[in-house]
Every structure is written in structure tokens, then in C-alpha cells.
Amino acid sequence: MSIFDYFKSSKKNTASIAKERLQVIVAHERSKRNQPDYLPALQQEILEVIRKYVSIDQDQIDVQLENNGDCSILELNVTLPD
């Protein structure tokens, strides 16, 4: 691949990069929509409890409330470092 091909193909990609980034952020924001107002505070407190034992970053925890007809499921995802 010549250097010119490299510039051509990297130029071609900015629209697809935009699409991928949008798909991720839009899906994330949609999942947060219509969630109860207490959820961010709940997530923060859980984060602080976990931090007493393991050190994790803000983005390694994700709390979601899913509506499943007659009940709701609180989903907690924590990524622990190796």
C-alpha cells in the first residue's frame, strides 16, 4: 500500500467513524432515557462502596433499571481490574 492509498483510505473512513461513534453514544443515551432520577446517585454510592475494597474508575460501573412487564430488574455491571 502506497502512502497515497493510506491517506485516501483514512479519509474515506471519517464518515464511518462518525457512524460508529454515534451508534454507541445514541444507544447508551437511549438506555438511560426514562430512568428514575435517583439512579445516578445510586450508582455513585455503589461506586463508593466498591472503592472501599477495589480501586475502580467511574466508567467501570454501570447501573440500569430494566422494565420487564410486572417487575423491574436493577442491573449492576462492574468491571474489576485484573
Binding site: K12, A15, A18, Q23
Partner: protein, 271 residues
């Protein structure tokens, strides 16, 4: 009952006012009695695009406050028989728009026989934008093929689906996507999101694609809604969008570089 259509986007400068002027003119050109309301309190601009800025006496807030009648405030368009403009107020008090006040004006327009009411929303997701979309039956979400505009469009769709009057009543707002400032050449080069991509991300019915066109600035310089420029691609694309809004099936045009130039096509055919 009048059909209430909001032109909204979240992001500013994407073409809401241009679209409101074009769509309302297009509906009136087809014989539908139409009113277009500027909800951008403090930043009135629709009057300039519609070329009636020097005829503004009373405004939207004057009518809501009972300082003028609706009849006194409505400005009759000079080009279209069936088109009336209700200008925004230049007051800095954004809370001048109340739900009750806006509803009163919309009901009165409906009682006066208006078929369509186009609400030109301000940017943002604050009070003014909320008031513009709250009573909508139909929403035209204007989006540029660009990351921040598409993301903001998705937020506005979320608000329409949860906070509008129809949502509160358990009904749905009819949603359309209008992609504006589209540059097929840049899409083909891979440095602008294609209309298919935008539509896929937002999952909304496509009302039209308006090309990025020099004719739009020339038209706004003169206070001519672009839909009156029958020669321009943007004007024709808005004509198509109005037809689709009225339920007609019209193919999308100006999506590729080729279809842009008649001479290019002629050349190719003879070659």
C-alpha cells in the same frame, strides 16, 4: 382541527427557520390555509426569512398577554394567499410563553379555519423549544449529516416521545426526519455521513434530503423562502418534502453527485 407541526432539532443553525419558511409556504401554495409561528422568543428571525420584518406590529407574546388580538398580530404573506405569520416577541423574558397561553393561540387558529400550524422551534431543549413541541401532532426533526446534530436530534426524539402532550395522553407524535445541508460529493468521498446512516441511527421516517446549496443564502438575503426558487435544487427538494408531508409518494432526488447536473447526464448519455 388544525394539524400542528413542530420544526425542531436541538442544535442551532441546522436549518429550522429555513425549513419552517419553506414548508409553510409550500403548504399554502397548494391551497392549505397555514399559519407559521416563530417560537424563538428574543431572537426573532422568521420575519426576515419571510420578508415581513417591517410589517411587524404585534407579536406572539402580545396575543398571549391579551395586548393584541390574534387578528391584529397575524401578518398576511405577500406571496401566498393562504399563509399567515405570527412573529416572535423580542422580549428577553423567555417565560412569557405559558402552556395555557400557547394552547389558547393554537385553539384560536384552529377555530379560525387554519389547516396547518407550523411551529418554528428555537435551538436547545429549554422552555422555548419545549413550548414549540409540546402541542405537536407531527414533528419534523431537522438534522445535518454531522455527529453533534444527529445526537441532538435523538435527544429531541426522546423528549417528543416522553414529554409532549400526546405522550402524556398515551398517544404518539408522528415523527419525520429532514436531513438538510447535504453534500453528496462529500458523502461519496467518505467524509460526510450518508442519509442512510443518519436514518439508520435515528430510525425515523425520512421526509426529505435538502442539499447544501448556495441558493439558500441568496434567497434569505432577499427574504424569499427558498421553496419559491423553482430552479434551485434545495427549492425542489423542499417541494418534494411538502408533497410527502401530504402523503404523496415521491422519489428522493439530489442524493448523488450525478443527479445534480443535467449537463453531466446529457453528456453521459451521448457518450
Amino acid at each position: 382541527m388544525a394539524k400542528i407541526i413542530v420544526v425542531t432539532s436541538g442544535k442551532g443553525g441546522v436549518g429550522k427557520t429555513t425549513t419552517s419558511a419553506a414548508i409553510s409556504s409550500g403548504l399554502a401554495m397548494r391551497g392549505h390555509k397555514t399559519a407559521v409561528i416563530d417560537f424563538d422568543i428574543g431572537l426573532r428571525n422568521l420575519d426576515l426569512i419571510m420578508n415581513c420584518e417591517r410589517r411587524v406590529v404585534y407579536d406572539f407574546v402580545n396575543v398571549i398577554n391579551g395586548e393584541a388580538t390574534l387578528k391584529q398580530a397575524l401578518i398576511k404573506d405577500k406571496r401566498c394567499e393562504d399563509l399567515y405569520i405570527l412573529p416572535a416577541s423580542q422580549t428577553r423574558d423567555k417565560d412569557a410563553l405559558t402552556k395555557e397561553g400557547v394552547e389558547k393561540v393554537l385553539n384560536q387558529l384552529s377555530d379560525d379555519g387554519f389547516e396547518y400550524i407550523i411551529c418554528d422551534s428555537p435551538a436547545g431543549i429549554e422552555h422555548g423549544a419545549f413550548m414549540a413541541l409540546y402541542f405537536a401532532d407531527t414533528a419534523i426533526v431537522v438534522s445535518n449529516p454531522e455527529v453533534s446534530s444527529v445526537r441532538d436530534s435523538d435527544r429531541i426524539l426522546g423528549i417528543l416521545q416522553s414529554k409532549s402532550r400526546r405522550a402524556e395522553l398515551g398517544q404518539t407524535v408522528e415523527e419525520f426526519l429532514l436531513v438538510t445541508r447535504y453534500n453528496p460529493g462529500r458523502v461519496e468521498n467518505g467524509d460526510m455521513l450518508g442519509v442512510d446512516d443518519v436514518q439508520e441511527i435515528l430510525a425515523t421516517t425520512l421526509l426529505g434530503v435538502i442539499p447544501d446549496s448556495e441558493s439558500v443564502l441568496k434567497a434569505s438575503n432577499q427574504g424569499l423562502p427558498i421553496i419559491h426558487d423553482k430552479e434551485s435544487d434545495a427549492g425542489q427538494a423542499y417541494q418534494d418534502a411538502v408533497a410527502r408531508l401530504l402523503g404523496e409518494k415521491v422519489d428522493h432526488r439530489f442524493l448523488s453527485v450525478e443527479s445534480k447536473s443535467f449537463f453531466q447526464r446529457l453528456f453521459r448519455r451521448s457518450a
